[in-house]
Symmetry: C2
Subunit: 293 residues, 2 copies
């Protein structure tokens, strides 16, 4: 099996190196050459052009930022036509389900197969090959791509036979994850404001009915006062933006997600967009004059 | 040890029967006589007056609805003065930390000891003696009351030496719990609205970064279409109301808790106040014309 990973940001680089580690012949590509060089330095193969990267592979794994970049790679830059006629296109990007279906239909029209495969877990888990992936697509394509998913993820959920279903599951997950981060930050700064020891609050809540996966994971960053990006604020302005677009399109009110989106936007607008998403706690601290140290 | 449990609603009755099961000499009291009779039918002792219930006990455990009822029992009805001069007053009611401190100071002024001991876990865990209790108060009083806490709870967190700290921890927990229920209901109904199988969404999210204790617990009710009250909507209109009062008093904005409170209020106002708090999902379904069956 030969695979190209297109998009070598923190997630894509982690996936590409996980594939190499699993013994898969992997080629990396990114429009930013320094990202490719990072992959080469880690033992990867990184030719200078998109065409050289994708022309001989069995599968192209796209780990770019958003749907626009997927379309740019596949259609505007001609990446799809550069691949073999039997190649599988695996898209790990979070996007609206309708958008995934639209891109899939263009890929399928070219005779190739499309797998919707949004990922979660953050860059550390990407580097360790321990992501969660929500896969939907034709069963025979998923079966052909099993080795790729097994190399990048420890949790592989096969959620449907049609593209768009994986994206829909990811959307629901991101709604919850974003709300939980915002709520965790609101709660921990309020705790500090009313005089509690936040390290103790963290320990107690972790073991109580108020816990969430995100509370447990992100409030550790707040307690440690470490906002170096494990997953950036801008991921959630993007993903909750998709939730907002989709729910508005369906005339479905999502007041919890909407409030969370505003908090991530405020956090980004005060200059913390590239920092860890637990920085929403620093927004609450700023707004309330609370010292979190 | 002899203990009186005052307030025999679903939580109080569960605590009282758990104490009996643990071999503690327990007397039950409630202003609603039928509640006392339920306790008697389960093997408990239930004299007709508050004075008879509390006059000889080592500890009075209050499991009434709110701070007003605590004050009514202890002060307006004279319950505090009816107890022995060395009795311990244990208050399991969720209330604002300042209110707990105020009630504690009046109890302490009478020469008796006060323990702030808000509980969580719902009526099923109360009946099984498996609550979580967030204890704060004088160490010697807590030590004297250890057997009582051990009979009612499996998780006992000693969070401080002063009354009010337990209530503050509970407040933070309830902020998170309320937001998580609202978010879980928003997410699962949106999932249905965009065509997903909600039982499958439940299984996938339970194992993903979007999970919360409340998502896992409450969305099982939605999937089963069972809104018989394990914990009622009105608990959260009350508890998020306390979050709202406290945060406003501290000039601390809590937009996530505020949105959740509005959703619980809407759910209660459409007639579901006594139903299970997962009924917020039925509110979303109603508002969006989504059929959850």
């Amino acid at each position: 099996v030969k695979v190209a990973v297109v998009g070598l940001g923190s997630m894509g680089l982690g996936i590409a190196t996980s594939l190499v580690r699993a013994g898969i012949n992997t080629i990396g590509y990114d429009v930013v050459r320094s990202s490719v060089e990072r992959f080469i330095a880690m033992g990867g193969e990184g030719p200078p052009t998109l065409e050289q990267a994708v022309c001989e592979v069995d599968a192209v794994v796209l780990v770019v930022l958003n749907a626009e970049q997927v379309e740019a790679v596949l259609f505007a830059s001609g990446g799809l036509e550069m691949t073999r006629a039997d190649a599988i296109v695996i898209v790990c990007v979070t996007m609206a389900p309708d958008r995934a279906r639209s891109i899939a239909s263009r890929v399928v029209a070219s005779g190739r197969q499309y797998i919707d495969a949004p990922i979660s877990g953050g860059s550390l888990k990407a580097a360790e090959g321990q992501l969660t992936v929500l896969v939907s697509g034709p069963p025979d394509a998923i079966s052909r791509a099993n080795g790729v998913f097994g190399a990048m993820a420890t949790k592989i959920y096969n959620v449907g036979d049609e593209p768009g279903v994986g994206s829909a599951f990811k959307l629901i997950n991101q709604l919850l994850a974003g709300v939980h981060i915002a709520a965790a930050c609101e709660a921990i700064v309020l705790a500090k404001r009313i005089g509690l020891d936040i390290a103790k609050v963290y320990e107690v809540i972790k073991n109580s009915a108020g816990n969430s996966w995100m509370f447990e994971n992100r409030i550790a960053h707040v307690v440690a006062n470490d906002y170096s990006p494990k997953s950036a604020v801008e991921i959630f302005t993007k993903d909750l933006g998709i939730v907002s677009d989709v729910s508005r399109d369906k005339k479905f009110a999502t007041p919890m997600a909407a409030s969370a989106l505003q908090l991530f936007l405020m956090t980004a607008s005060t200059g913390m967009g590239k920092d860890d998403d637990a920085s929403v706690a620093r927004l609450y601290a700023l707004l309330s004059g609370t010292n979190l140290d």
